[in-house]
Amino acid sequence: MRARVSPGIAIILLLLAGFVLAAAGAELLSPADPLRQSLLLRLREPGFASRTATYWLGTDDLGRDLLSRILYGARASLLVAALSVSVSLVVGTALGLLAGWFRGWTAVLIMRFVDTMLSIPAILLAVLTVAVLGPGFIKLVMVLGLTRWPRYTRVAYAATLQVAGLPYIKAAEMAGCGATRILWRHILPNIAGPLMVVATSEFGLMILFEAGLSFLGLGIQPPYPSWGSIMSAGRQYVTRAWWLTVFPGACLFVLVLCVNVFGDWLRDRVDPRSRSR
Amino acid sequence: MSDAPALVVENLSLAIGPAGLVDGVGFQVAPGEVMAIVGESGCGKSVTAQAIMRLLPDAIRQTGGRILLGGRDISAIPERAMRAVRGQLMSMIFQEPQAALDPLTTVGSQIAEALRQPLGRVRGEVLRMLRDVGISDPERRIDQHPFELSGGMCQRIMIASALISRPAVLIADEPTTALDVTIQAQILDLLRRLAIERQTAVVLITHDMGVVADIADRMAVMYAGRIAEAGPTAEIFAAPRHPYTALLLASIPRLSDVPKSKLAVIEGRVPNPSEFGPGCRFASRCPRADARCAAETPPLRPLGAGRLTACFHAEPPHGTQP
């Protein structure tokens, strides 16, 4: 099962590791406190050096260090994406397993629900729910997690149906395994591949959703930084302070690109049709 | 069968990446003759057939050898010319007839396509062909789609479309493997009759020694990408000279053996192309193997009476006069 990793993928993996380390080590890496304001240092261009510090990426309209805000913002983005992906992965997979195992009415009900959810544009659903519930980190995670599970359910359902018909599942029944053990030990490990592929593609999407919601003011709330909220605040100064939108935007672009390329690579490895036999 | 051979394959070698799949395979088939290539799954039967038709998948390269069709080398002619060869001079049928037929086109049109004519113009000829391959009620069947027909009938349709242009050579890759024995018997009878009536040279690929015994005039036994033994069917079955052929024949349960008796076994398993060593590829499983077998490739050498074997220690012909 060990993969040969091409140089391209190696670079992508390194970049992803870089993002994760930057987010995890924000305290250590940040040159300044991302929340400390200074009216004297408003909208300084990148590379501006004051008596005490150098602002490599400049400062924002409240004089806060942009580099520090982006590092902390990476943490917000990755944390929201990781947690919401985990929530929807668990919920979606559980429902898909149940539908695929019990079939019949259980499956009809669950899959109808999935179809309904999938027919509503996802970002609209998220915006509406946040608008009703109000913003906040936990709420953001829950909203994203609980609106994004249907794709996992679809994939888990189809994969469960397929695996459940295989002789080794019959053999497990013959061995005397109960439903829990069959689902947990025999089916789940064998449908994990396609689910991980969905999870990575969703991870990229969740980063964008978080940025979008924060940009609209519905996500991470000021003064805490997130790439979306930094860009949102910087929007007013696009002509005067380009760095406020360009740097977080570029980070967002590179991160999502890396995640998606990684996801494609993972899909090619997991999908047996693209594996050479 | 005194005529010049319709198809000659010389020293054909195929490789995927660095691994050789098929190594120096050669045989010939005369008009009206059924020549069987028999071997276990993965030994290179299908890729050999695809190489003859020049239909190899991209990953597989031909690294050597010639293919002579009616004396003309077709292994290097341009793809355009090859398209005229396929279907006109040489046709192929497959294991899964239903998968090989176009699901959206009526069987009549598919057969007519082999003549490169619209069905309207050649309807009479197609009907005659359908009758010839034993399709009952051809007037109705001609306008049906493949999914309306059973597997056995689809194979008859495949045979009809392969033979309607009277090609010199028919390559049949496991044509009856997906069929039941009663249907298999029908299709084998049909193939034999058509080969003789139309003087078609048939290359029959199979893993089933029973099928070989039933219809092949001559046979080549393949093992791990090489020919182990070749010659007239009756003689090979009567006195196999290569240890692999001998063991294989002894390991098959027969209607005449003693029930529950111990069958002869070939220990181990067929090697993968990546495991091919320098010597005889059967050496790891061969009871007669010695040091030379592991180091040197046994050449395919003639034993007389049209028989060939690739073994240093070929069994002496028993039951013959000294």
Partner: protein
């Protein structure tokens, strides 16, 4: 008491367009202790359906299936679980018979573990002994299925089926997916295990020569029914039913001399759909000796010599 006793078994599946698929439509058979019964017939005639019903993986639409006297039809989940300790199964395709994410040791030991029969070191010892019994090495237990060839995987599957020391082993085409040179290894193993443990076996195959090699009695199935059931030697030397005769004539024997001398009994046409079986004798659409009566009247099951046959003219 017979190890297996099937009476009037029917298994119907919901079909497209109303008419149910009568996959098994009135099958009765029994297997005595230590006996091997072969079940042969063409694709789709219902062999796998019978074997699945025998171990309770399918529930009968009608009729009774008794393993060691315990009824499976309508049995509770606990009863089924208990019966499966006595009736185990070997499947056709060794690739899909093993969970690719489980080591073969876990697979072979699973029946013992989940039934609380062994754990820890005792489980490891038993798994090792089972692997050795089927000709593998005990220290292979930590490997995954993809590290084994088809024949070896079938050995693993057999070891798993033996773990509970079943009284009945159901083998559904156990050698059909294997290479010719490996088939003999597995057949020898099955014959040997059967002699050693004295299990009863239901051996399903479409290969008449293989069935003859391992079975004591043979049942021939056609379109959801058994048409002939006879001791092996009687069936092969003096087949009674026209379908049995045709099947035997169609088996290509790996011997050009006998094969080409064999009289051809070509069977016209193909097996009809089980959703819409012909009236009267189900075989009449293909039977070379059918008479008028066959088209309307179902042949009764009767004894002819050592055989039981369902044919008006046998």
């Amino acid at each position: 008491m017979n190890t297996l006793e099937i009476t009037g078994l029917k298994v119907h599946f919901p079909g497209r367009g109303g008419a149910p698929v009568r996959a098994v439509d009135g099958v009765s058979l029994s297997i005595a202790a230590g006996e091997t019964l072969g079940l042969v017939g063409e694709s789709g005639c219902g062999k796998s359906t019978v074997s699945n019903a025998t171990v309770g993986l399918l529930s009968p639409t009608e009729g009774s299936v008794k393993v060691l006297g315990t009824e499976l039809a309508g049995a509770s989940r606990e009863t089924l679980r208990a019966i499966r300790a006595k009736a185990q199964m070997v499947f056709q395709d060794p690739v899909t018979s093993l969970n690719p994410r489980m080591t073969i040791g876990e697979a072979v030991g699973e029946p013992l573990l989940v039934r609380g029969l062994a754990r820890g070191a005792a489980l490891r010892d038993q798994v090792g002994a089972l692997l050795e019994e089927v000709g593998l090495r005990a220290d292979h237990a930590g490997r995954y299925p993809h590290q084994f060839s088809g024949g070896q995987r079938q050995r693993i599957v057999i070891a798993r089926a033996l773990a509970l020391r079943p009284a009945l082993l159901v083998c559904d085409e156990p050698v059909s997916a294997l290479d010719v040179s490996v088939r003999a290894q597995i057949l020898n193993l099955l014959v040997e295990l059967q002699a050693r443990h004295g299990m009863s076996t239901l051996f399903v195959s479409h290969d008449l020569a293989v069935v003859r090699h391992v079975c004591d009695r043979v049942a021939v199935m056609y379109l959801g029914r058994i048409v002939e059931l006879a001791p092996r030697d009687a069936l092969y030397s003096a087949p009674r039913h026209p379908y049995t005769k045709a099947l035997l004539a169609a088996v290509p024997e790996p011997d050009p001399v006998t094969q080409r001398a064999k009289p051809r009994v070509p069977l016209e046409g193909e097996i009809p759909s089980p959703a819409n079986p012909p009236p009267g004798c189900r075989f009449h659409t293909r039977c070379p000796i059918a008479v008028d009566r066959c088209r309307s009247e179902e042949p009764a099951w009767r004894a002819v010599g050592a055989a039981s046959v369902a044919c008006h003219l046998a």
